[in-house]
Amino acid sequence: MSTANVRLFARLADLAGTREAEVELGEGLTASGVFDILVQRYPSLTGFETIVRFAVNSEYVPASHPVRPGDEVALIPPVSGGSRAL
């Protein structure tokens, strides 16, 4: 089965009640697509797509970045001292 591992941190981990999740990868799934799947699974994450940044395999990526089997996707809430300007 082709899956990706997702890691959640800080407030997003608190809201979802988990720090890790596994998602099945559909055709052409992107980082934001992974987030949409998690929102269905954890409705308390609704609305956070406007502030979250994505990382794939420990590198910041745009929301449109494709996710491949075995990738580690991280949902990065705004960090303590910064704006979210990329």
Binding site: F9, A10, F48, S58, V79, S80, S83
Partner: protein
């Protein structure tokens, strides 16, 4: 270069010795310390969460970028995670350079960039509640 994310107490001596070099006449060392107040509230303690594998990579990238802008010899960064009490050290950034001006400037630039980009978050536990501190962004439902 030294980049660490650790639950252990930070070690300023080790950070400074890491950047000490014979061709560097200046070492700047920044301490980030847990403050007892924020936004008019009395802070009881902080809890830091981190994505350590990515945090150390981002530290490395930022250090490389700052090294290109300033003529610095060596850098070392340590960030603590977990529960920190008021007065404890959460961040150490050391920079060595031939001369003091560049050491100060590079250290300042490094700290600013780290706070914007390194995936480490703090939850403030204050009198009467707790809250994740999320920079300038406003979140839904707050």
């Amino acid at each position: 270069m030294l980049f660490e994310v650790t639950a252990d107490e930070l070690d300023p001596g080790r950070v400074v010795e890491h950047v000490r070099r014979d061709d560097a006449g200046a070492i700047a060392l920044f301490y980030g310390v847990v403050r007892d107040h924020n936004r008019g509230r009395k802070v009881m303690h902080l809890e830091y969460d981190a994505y350590p594998e990515m945090a150390t990579k981002v530290m490395q990238r930022i250090a490389d970028e700052v090294k290109e802008r300033f003529n610095i010899a060596e850098t070392a960064i340590q960030h603590r995670t977990g529960r920190l009490e008021v007065g404890e050290t959460s961040l150490l950034v050391a920079v060595s350079s031939a001369h003091r001006k560049e050491a100060f400037e590079a250290c300042h630039a490094l700290v600013d960039r780290l706070k914007e980009e390194v995936p480490i978050w703090k939850k403030e536990v204050f009198e009467g509640g707790e809250e994740w501190i999320e920079g300038d962004a406003s979140a839904p439902g707050t």
